[in-house]
């Protein structure tokens, strides 16, 4: 029997919900088995300085202390309910938010929840081996924090499946533990979550770019008319903020270190930079190009009838829906999307309802650009001319109007052959990956020490010093 108060912190009255208890008693051991198999490699005895959510209040959910990860208290939290909350968009606008699943939207809602939930364990699987090559205890602790919180996000989605979807929800919850990232026979649902995360630069890029897609998807679901989904996603967003912090500062520290070495040694040729054991800015740009482009695909097709249906039905809103000044119906408005015709890129207006994926993608791009600008402050400070840039929206796309088209990062439409001739100027080559991996052949675990290829952070975690023992190996 599970001790529901001690083991699963929650604000969903789990102690009294017998149906939910039975479902979780079956699912929890399977989850732990999954964690032992697919969680961070050889980490189960480590004591990690982690934060644990024990309530939704600011002073309650960030409790720090040493925890062995299999004993982490994965909780179930929803943002407190607003009893007056209404559906804010679509054909049900103005009605009271649904507290139960509307029958006509049951299968659609379940699919939305499963698709979101599937991304959570996927990223843990993708990052499984990175602890073996961490650049510091600080970074090791951070990846473990990200991993346990992705696990908690899985719990959050499983709670919804168990609580609101009966038997088929339980079956979906089990399937979330059965799919595997990159598996040929039973892969994760979305493409980017089947890509490998082979090294720490890829991890930082992933948490900056791909976790930010998660933020935008969660933000759109936090507007949902199905109130338990909205409240669940709202709380998940608070944790997602930390993951993006890890990604943004991680990339920034890699860039900073490279800039320091280039300035000190008055060099800028990538081959010279590599001889000094740091990652050349050109390779960082290639990683950026890859992670940005595969993440753009996660937003889906530019014109999507599914997206229109989700919106009209009140299931998934826009980013910051309630702050947008329009009719929240979108029945008469249009939105621009791009298409490629005759080797040129054209903008055309389509019904705004069908372009909701594209709109969310554009919101995302605006925010990502801010982070790239902050990375570039490192070059400005070092007096270097190189700047990181976001490639064109159509570069290296596999979904939407740009799929099947060959475009340079600058947005020139080109032939497949021409693109392939330049591919490794724009995307990491096997040699680039091998070089980056060569820098990360072992882990750096002495307190306060950092690998040569990354600058230390300016501050530690939770006001602890940088030489704090963030992970104790047992």
């Amino acid at each position: 029997m599970i001790d529901y108060i001690d083991k699963i912190p929650n604000n969903v009255d789990l102690g009294r919900d017998k149906v939910l208890q039975r479902a979780l008693e079956h699912w929890q051991p399977a989850y732990l088995n999954w964690w032992y198999d697919m969680g961070p490699n050889e980490s189960h005895a480590f004591e990690v300085y982690l934060r644990t959510a024990t309530s939704v209040e600011p002073d309650g959910w960030a409790q720090f202390g040493y925890v062995r990860m299999p004993e982490y208290r994965w909780g179930i939290f929803l943002q407190p309910r607003d009893v007056d909350r209404q559906i804010n968009f679509g054909m049900h606008k103005g009605q009271a938010a649904w507290q139960d699943v509307p029958g006509e939207y049951r299968s659609t809602l379940r699919r939305i929840i499963v698709t979101q939930g599937d991304t959570e364990p996927a990223s843990v699987e993708q990052q499984k081996m990175l602890g073996q090559s961490c650049p510091s205890l600080y970074d090791l602790r951070n990846i473990f924090q990200v991993n346990v919180e992705e696990g908690r996000h899985l719990w959050a989605m499983v709670y919804l499946l168990h609580r609101y979807f009966g038997r088929d929800g339980r079956e979906e919850a089990e399937a979330l533990l059965e799919r595997r990232s990159g598996d040929d026979d039973n892969p994760r649902i979305l493409g980017a979550f089947n890509e490998p995360t082979p090294d720490w630069l890829a991890f930082y890029m992933f948490t900056f770019f791909t976790d930010r897609d998660g933020k935008f998807q969660l933000s759109a679901l936090a507007e949902s008319g199905f109130d338990p989904l909205a409240r669940t996603c709202r709380f998940m967003l608070t944790e997602e903020a930390h993951h993006m912090f890890v990604g943004e500062t991680g990339v920034s520290r890699v860039v900073q270190r490279t800039c320091e070495v280039m300035k000190e040694n008055k060099i800028d040729a990538p081959s010279d930079v590599r001889t000094l054991g740091v990652i050349d800015l050109e390779t960082i740009q290639k990683y950026l190009n890859f992670h940005y482009s595969v993440t753009l695909d996660l937003f889906g097709s530019d014109a999507s009838s599914n997206a229109a249906t989700y919106y009209t039905s009140g299931l998934k809103g826009r980013f910051d829906e309630t702050k947008i000044a329009d009719d929240h119906l979108l029945s008469d408005s249009e939105y621009p999307v791009f298409e490629v015709k005759d080797d040129k890129i054209w903008s055309k207006s389509v019904p705004a309802l069908t372009a909701l994926n594209e709109r969310l993608r554009d919101d995302y791009i605006r925010e990502v650009q801010g982070g790239v600008d902050r990375w570039n402050r490192n070059m400005e400070k070092a007096g270097l001319r190189f700047r990181l840039t976001l490639p064109h929206k159509g570069f290296h796309r596999a979904i939407g109007n740009f799929a099947g088209k060959y475009m340079s990062p600058a947005g020139e439409v080109m032939s497949e052959e021409a693109w392939k001739n330049h591919q490794h100027e724009w995307m990491p080559s096997p040699e680039d990956y091998a070089y980056v991996r060569s820098l990360m052949s072992g882990r750096v675990v002495a307190p306060g020490k950092f690998a040569n290829w990354i600058a230390p952070p300016s501050r530690g975690v939770n006001n602890q010093p940088l030489n704090f023992e963030y992970v104790r190996f047992n």
Binding site: V56, P58, W61, A62, K215, F235, L237, T238, A241, H242, M244, F245, E248, T249, S252, K323, E367, G370, G371, R374, R377, P457, S458, R459, G460, V461, N462, N463
Partner: protein, 107 residues
């Protein structure tokens, strides 16, 4: 009850009563102040409640802890000497009349 004046990026002030012990961020959300997002819910992890504190009040605040300093480095609008995260400013009687200016963007 002490007051806080939130000044929008265009210079428009809005005065709000803030109970002692409440954070400047929480009061902004409760009163619908545009320009405070507080994506992380007020646990000093995201910088979307960034404010510029009026110089006459800045030195009256307890100094920022390391975590706040770290998070301010990823603020959407570049930090300045008087930058703080409003989730880390708890209201006191001494801070009555506190003026905080909002950045042009938070993300």
């Amino acid at each position: 009850m002490p007051k806080v004046v939130y000044v929008s990026p265009t210079g428009d002030p809005r005065e709000v009563d803030v109970p002692v012990g409440t954070t400047v961020m929480a009061a902004a959300l409760k009163n619908g102040i545009d320009g405070i997002v507080a994506e992380c819910g007020g646990v000093c992890m995201c910088s979307t409640c960034h404010v510029f504190v009026d110089e006459s009040f800045f030195n009256r605040l307890p100094p920022a802890q390391d975590t706040e300093e770290a998070v301010l480095e990823i603020s959407a609008e570049e930090r300045r000497p008087t930058s703080r995260l409003s989730c880390q400013i708890k209201m006191t009687d001494d801070l009555d009349g506190l003026v905080v200016r909002l950045p042009t963007r938070q993300r």
